[in-house]
């Protein structure tokens, strides 16, 4: 079933899955910051696709559609749990500074985590455009279509996201050292 072609489509579910999963997962992970959640949401997204097979002319179209779906459900998820999350993050951040190790690898990992955390502190409207740009590899035009805003709006939001992110990371550095 996963390997069978649907009428009107010259590709299989499996082919779509293999080629599109990485980017869909990455977007969801970067929006939610949680691997388990990203898996849940990817599951949901691909089931949605499975139910709509046959209506896409190319894998690229499927990919674009799936990016839209994953963006929507990831964002919805985030909004739902936002308040409770904030409190936990604050707590985690304090704890992390205390049990820092000297190991370089650990530091690197910490830095990555710090950047992911900073990303999660961006407001949704800024976070999503930046994630779609840097991790989804979409053009401004495509991002505009996914999010439902104009290209020039995308441009403004990406700039603001970068500004805000660099401020957050700088603050983080001050905090850590």
């Amino acid at each position: 079933m996963l390997h069978r072609k649907k009428k009107n489509e010259n590709f299989t579910f499996n082919e779509v899955y293999e080629s599109v999963f990485p980017v869909v997962f990455k977007i969801s992970y970067r929006i939610t910051g949680d691997r388990g959640i990203a898996e849940d949401l990817c599951h949901e997204a691909f089931i949605k696709y499975f139910e709509r097979r046959g209506s896409f002319p190319s894998i690229d179209e499927v990919k674009f559609w799936l990016i839209r779906v994953i963006r929507n459900i990831s964002l919805n998820y985030e909004k739902r749990r936002a308040r409770e999350r904030l409190a936990i993050d604050r707590y985690k951040k304090v704890a992390k500074v205390e049990d820092r190790g000297e190991d370089e690898k650990l530091l690197l990992k910490e830095m990555e985590e710090a950047i992911q955390k900073a990303l999660e502190e961006l407001p949704y409207n800024l976070r999503e455009v930046l994630v779609l740009k840097e991790y989804g590899g979409l053009s401004y035009k495509e991002i505009g279509k996914v999010v439902g805003i104009s290209e020039s709006n995308v441009k403004v939001r990406i700039f603001r996201a970068r500004e805000k992110l660099s401020r957050l990371i700088k603050e983080g550095e001050l905090y850590v050292s």
């Binding site: 999963f21 990203a38 898996e39 599951h43 691909f46 089931i47 992911q116 401004y140 970068r162 660099s166």
Partner: protein
């Protein structure tokens, strides 16, 4: 005249068309302020791009398995069961979605591997005259993933049959329940 900062950021993304693109390139060479801004925007971009991708291979497998399970259930309900799953799936009528009974034939060493608070419960262990040990386990539907992980991790590749119980209350709503509770109580 300096381009606005949004435009510099777009320029960085290759989103500025000619002739503006060349003009900005020229300008940035001369203007300290703009080249510094571009540099700092570039730094943020590369920080994000340098982030290691989340390890997705394992997630890819996990999700795939879950999709397959969803489809088993789906197919069953629509009466179109295909044998696309590698494992043997036995689906007797009528179906209960509340719980799944798993039979597998294992060596006894395996039994201690069941995670304590996983929601997976041992129901019965029986050794056949032939020497194989049959272990019956129940797991709530929501723990299917864990159940499969458990099977995969159990370095045991003989025969695994996942069976939806033949008769049970049809619980569409509410908490997943363990079927035949009486049989396993006290046997954990």
């Amino acid at each position: 005249m300096c381009p606005d900062e949004e435009t510099l950021s777009a320029y960085l993304d290759g989103e500025v068309e000619e002739p503006f693109k060349s003009k900005i390139a020229e300008h940035v060479k001369e203007c300290v302020k703009c080249s510094a801004k571009l540099e700092s925007l570039h730094r943020i971009k590369s920080i994000l791009l340098e982030e290691n991708d989340p390890e997705y291979i394992e997630s890819m497998e996990n999700v795939k398995r879950r999709i397959q399970i969803s489809m088993v259930a789906d197919n069953y309900f629509f009466g179109r069961l295909n044998s696309f799953w590698k494992r043997k799936v036995v689906l007797p009528l009528p179906i209960a979605i509340a719980a799944i009974v798993l039979f597998f034939f294992v060596g006894v060493f395996l039994i201690s591997n069941i995670p304590g608070n996983s929601g997976i419960h041992m129901m019965r262990i029986r050794t056949e005259p032939s020497g194989v040990t049959e272990v019956q386990v129940t797991a709530p539907i929501e723990d299917l993933e864990q159940l499969l992980k458990f099977i995969d991790n159990s370095n045991f590749k003989k025969e695994v049959i996942i069976k939806l119980p033949a008769q049970s209350q049809f619980l569409m709503f509410g908490e997943p329940a363990i079927v035949k509770e009486a049989e396993f109580s006290g046997v954990r």
